[in-house]
Symmetry: C2
Amino acid sequence: MQKIKVIGVGPGIRSMITFEALEAIKGARVVIGGKRHLEEFALPGQEKYILANNLEEIAAIIRGRREEGVAVLATGDPGLYGVLSFLKKFWDPGEIEVFPGVSSVQLAFARLCLPWHDAMILSAHGRPSGGLAELAAQSSKTALLTGSDNPPEKLFKLLENTGPERKFYFCFDLSMPSEYILELKSGEIYPEELKGRHNCVMVVLND
Amino acid sequence: MQKIKVIGVGPGIRSMITFEALEAIKGARVVIGGKRHLEEFALPGQEKYILANNLEEIAAIIRGRREEGVAVLATGDPGLYGVLSFLKKFWDPGEIEVFPGVSSVQLAFARLCLPWHDAMILSAHGRPSGGLAELAAQSSKTALLTGSDNPPEKLFKLLENTGPERKFYFCFDLSMPSEYILELKSGEIYPEELKGRHNCVMVVLND
């Protein structure tokens, strides 16, 4: 049986994928991924399916087409709040081959020139934000994935009082031409013009 | 002033570096890194310095040659127990450009088909192992970098009783032809023939 390839593509640009991940995508007949990743990485002859809130449908496609070679593109690293946990509900570890990639969390810390092995990594992307403030309060270094349900301005409000003198870095559109990093302290005003932008990794530090 | 480029090369083989990291290495006049990484990634015309336990000497080289373009190769990701913290003692974040890479910890979890955002990441590579058992006892998923001072057999002894029913994965020589993964439970015997091999990422799980 062919293994299902779950491929970390990094932040989403060609210069930040690994050589082996790109080769693995090339070898697949069916490529599944976010719209932006399919445009960037899939080849003209490949069959493409957009991965969105259609996980059950995607599972059915994988089941039907597996023997032809299926690649599932994961943003960043598949092991960091990615599609992997979902796929493991249906397939055994031995049926899945994971290709690691550079996560947006790693890129955020790279831009800030900070080590991250001591960071707590949380996600509010497509999941409830309850409990996040309590978790972040326990850690002196937190990375937080945001999303449309939980945009950075909302998470800032939620987290700004979790500790004394906290420093917030909002890393927008990492690796893209529109990349922008905003620094705020607890109590400062979140800029009106950035509200609504939610492709953002937040890094929260004790000052 | 030229920035000092700190470049994550991934586990150490060409297929697992990003395109931008490889380009950044090519652009440097002086390349500093472990012997194996220099052999794999530095070009014939480049000046090479081996990074070992000679950090002060390396800092002096960087200071003297910075304007010519200096690349420091970091195993895996520079932000994960890498050379970055050392360099930041001498240079400001604005003087350093960090290129993220795939860490051996990510590769270990990829091989085990496990997510890792909820893992505690610890290192016993070139540092004392005191306190590790206490830290690992708090976490249901721990990744542990080993080293010659703290080889996996020693850390297994130290950690096997940190919780009931713990499962240990020893991931040796990840990405290399000699890659090998051993699975043990608390109380089982560490194989004699693997003693002395310390290029290993340990993953410890509550069963």
